[in-house]
C-alpha cells in the first residue's frame, strides 16, 4: 500500500464536466510538444502527399498541394495525456477535397508519416468536414516540432490520431492498428467516450 504523499495533488485540475472539455481532461494554454522521435526535416522540394490503394492512387507535390482549396478552422484539440487546448486555428486542405480526388471503396486508412509514425482511422471520420491536412497553425507556417510542413488534423478524435509530419494515407479494407494502437491505445479514440485504451 503506497503511503499518501501529504499535501500532494495533481497540478492540473480536471475541467468541469458538461462543457467543451471531454471527461478526464484539463485545459492548457500551452501547446506541449510530444514526439516519439526526432523532428524530421523533409525539404519541401521532396515533399509529397499520397493516397495509396483504391482505383486511382494519387500524389501531390507541395506546390500542387498549396494550390488546392484550403480553409481555416478553429477547433479544440484533446490529447490522450489529458490536456485539451481550446480554439486552435489551423489552415489546411480538407480531407473531403483529397478523398474526392481518388476513386476507392475502402473503409479504412493508415496514415503514414516522415519518421515512420502511423495511425489508423475510418474513412468516415475523415469525411464531412471533420479532418484536414494542415500546414498552418495560428496564422503562421506549421512549426516542425508541431508537425510541419503538414500534419493530419482530426480534432474529434484524440490528438495522437492527428499525425505529425503526415505524408499520405494508405487505403485499407480492414482497420489495422497504427503505432500507438499496436501497444494498446484505442483503435478509434473518441475523447467524448474516453476511449483512451483498447477495451475502453
Amino acid at each position: 500500500m503506497s503511503p499518501i504523499s501529504r499535501g500532494f495533488h495533481r497540478r492540473h485540475e480536471e475541467a468541469e464536466p458538461a462543457g467543451r472539455v471531454p471527461p478526464g481532461q484539463y485545459v492548457t494554454r500551452d501547446f506541449p510538444v510530444l514526439s516519439a522521435g526526432p523532428t524530421p526535416h523533409t525539404p519541401l522540394a521532396n515533399w509529397t502527399f499520397s493516397i495509396e490503394g483504391g482505383q486511382s492512387p494519387t500524389s501531390w507535390t507541395w506546390p500542387e498541394f498549396q494550390a488546392l482549396p484550403s480553409e481555416t478552422v478553429t477547433v479544440d484539440i484533446h490529447c490522450v495525456t489529458r490536456w485539451s487546448k481550446l480554439d486552435t486555428a489551423w489552415t489546411g486542405v480538407s480531407l473531403d477535397v483529397l478523398l474526392d480526388a481518388v476513386s476507392f471503396d475502402d473503409p479504412y486508412v493508415l496514415a503514414f508519416c516522415d519518421g515512420g509514425y502511423t495511425t489508423n482511422l475510418p474513412v468516415a471520420d475523415l469525411r464531412g468536414g471533420k479532418a484536414w491536412v494542415a500546414y498552418s497553425y495560428d496564422g503562421g507556417p506549421l512549426p516542425p516540432e508541431h508537425g510541419g510542413p503538414a500534419r493530419l488534423l482530426v480534432p474529434h478524435l484524440y490528438f495522437w490520431k492527428s499525425a505529425k509530419w503526415v505524408r499520405g494515407l494508405r487505403l485499407r479494407e480492414t482497420d489495422a492498428p497504427g503505432f500507438w494502437e499496436m501497444y494498446g491505445y484505442h483503435m478509434y479514440g473518441d475523447p467524448w467516450r474516453e476511449q483512451r485504451y483498447a477495451g475502453d
Binding site: I4, S5, R6, F8, H9, D30
Partner: protein, 245 residues
Amino acid sequence: MAGTAVRGRLTWQTATVDSLVDETASVRTISLSVPDWGGHQAGQHLDIRLTAEDGYRAERSYSIASAPGEPVAITVERLDDGEVSPYLTEELRVGDEIELRGPIGGYFVWDGGDRAPLLLLAGGSGVVPLRAILRHRSRIGSTVPVRLLYSARSWADVIYRSELGAEPDGVQVSHTLTRQQPPGWTGYARRVDQAMITEVAWPVAQAPLAYVCGPTNFVEAVAADLVALGYPAQRVKTERFGATG
C-alpha cells in the same frame, strides 16, 4: 566494474524525510531515512513516487547527491511549471513519508577504481551526481586529480557553492555563469564551448575519464567537443536530463 549496480532492494519502499537544506532559492536537498537501503554507488539515481489522496500518482527520477555511506539525499530543482518539483522543494516537510526505489543505474557511476584523471562537466542541476562522485572521492581518500567545469545561469544558481568553493585537495573547480555575473567576476561568462573545454579538459594523453551531466543540449554539445578534442567516446560518460519537474 561498471555495470555492477549495488544490489539493494529494487522495489518501492517508504522513506522518511530527515532534513531539508535550501541550496539556492529554487533548489533543495532532501535527506532521507531509507529503512532497507542496500547502499549505492556515486552517480546512481533513485525514483520517487508520489500518491495523491485521489490516487493520482507521479514518478520522477533524481540523482543521489550523497556519497556511498552517507545518508541518502537527493537535490531537487524547482521547475516553475513542474508537478513534482514544486511539491518536493516547497511543500515536503521533515517527517513526511515518500516512496522511492533505488539505487538505479550502472553506467554513470564512479567507484574510484579507475585512477585516470577525472573531468566532470555539469550543466545546471547536472552537478548533482558529480557532487556525489566528489564526495565519494574524498571519503575513500582518492588522489585522482579532478577538474570540474560547472555551468550555471548565475552565481545565485550555483548549487553546493561553499562545498565546491572549499576545493578539496586535487580538485579544481571552474565556473561559467552564462546569464549574469557578480561584479568583479573574472571567470567564464558564456555557454560552454570548444575553446573553454580545450582550456579546462585534461590532455588526452593522460587517458582521462569524463562525466557530462545536464540538459540534453548541454550534454550533446559538450560530449561532441570532447570527442573533437580527441577523447575516445567510451571515455566520455553522459547523462541527459529532461525538462520535466
